[in-house]
Symmetry: D2
Subunit: 117 residues, 4 copies
């Protein structure tokens, strides 16, 4: 895996993958939101009984590191597919959210920006 | 918002944002996995009582469209921050998962690739 | 299983079970809330790709019926243990919530009760 | 609230409540599983940034205690309604699960029971 991956190309691979297997009828916004939520819970499951020290060292064990990367991939896959079926650009959504948060939570010592809303 | 956003730049904005507000002690892998899971459930909440038709039209209403984009942003933000604290590259994780899935679920009519593992 | 089960006895069995195996240090409120959330997602996972018809028939298949009962048991187990460590009475909490909801959502044709709060 | 509450009576109140408001068409197994999962995540949300000490003291603050009881009620309400629509007895499901777990995780110093399955 030396090639660099970009989000748009991965998104297209996911869409083609589902189309080739006739999975698109299952990929409704509601089903994809449910699947995203289930995968996020599976990521949390890895950590649920760990102490903070164990949690911080989770990537040192090859099996649990693989499991973490696998669940991260599932979360991202369903997020991209959810966004694709609804026409949402997740990067723009995130950029606009960070803009709003910078306004809402000024840096310590910074004057709050005047609200436009 | 005409500039194009890229994932690496947004990831860095999130890291700087948390650092400037001294939020990093809260951003343990376990807490971020919990927060990711909570935000994914909030995205699902938008759809939980909707019919398939209502769910497909969710972006037609400006308020619910805003809510969808806001929750998508939160999910992606916590996923990127989770990956940052554990040193996981989410794009490589997804690319490798798609590779595995292409092997595991061959296209209809395609011979399964010989297993290397 | 002909004896009738009651919630208080099951709650006590769960507490004794965890105590006998020295699991109590793991049973913090936060860990139990995470585990409850994970088990609820596993219950949802059974339904995520099903049509409404398939979902309504889920108990007709012995394997999926077993899986549903197993996940219901896990959700209830973690809910009871969560309540036990925090001293919450789940039945009283539910009764009070139904009281509030009857006030908040009057039956059609019923005058809303005068608010006391 | 001095009367003692029992699970069967609360379950019936929930069913009557939904029937009187014509909410039953929304209460499909899949929707109720999604709602249960969303409420469990809202319970987790209360704890997501808390230290273990703060989490253990969550009932000392009246507002957060109320929030905890409210989310516990929502989780239990959706669990009971989910079980009602599918004909699952949650207490029997839990009793059978504890039976299986006592077999699967013998007490320390106890010989594992011979497996019947």
């Amino acid at each position: 895996m030396t090639r660099r991956h970009d989000l748009a190309a991965l998104r297209q691979r996911l869409i083609d993958f589902a189309a080739a297997r006739d999975w698109r009828p299952f990929h409704t916004p509601k089903n994809l939101a449910a699947a995203l939520s289930v995968e996020a819970a599976e990521l949390l499951e890895i950590f649920q009984w760990l102490t903070p020290e164990q949690a911080a060292a989770v990537m040192d064990d090859p099996d649990s590191a693989h499991r973490v990367r696998d669940e991260v991939a599932d979360v991202l896959a369903y997020l991209l597919q959810f966004c694709a079926v609804l026409g949402v650009d997740p990067l723009t959504a995130l950029a606009e959210k960070i803009d709003r948060n910078e306004h809402r939570f000024p840096r310590p010592g910074e004057r709050p920006a005047p609200s436009s809303g």
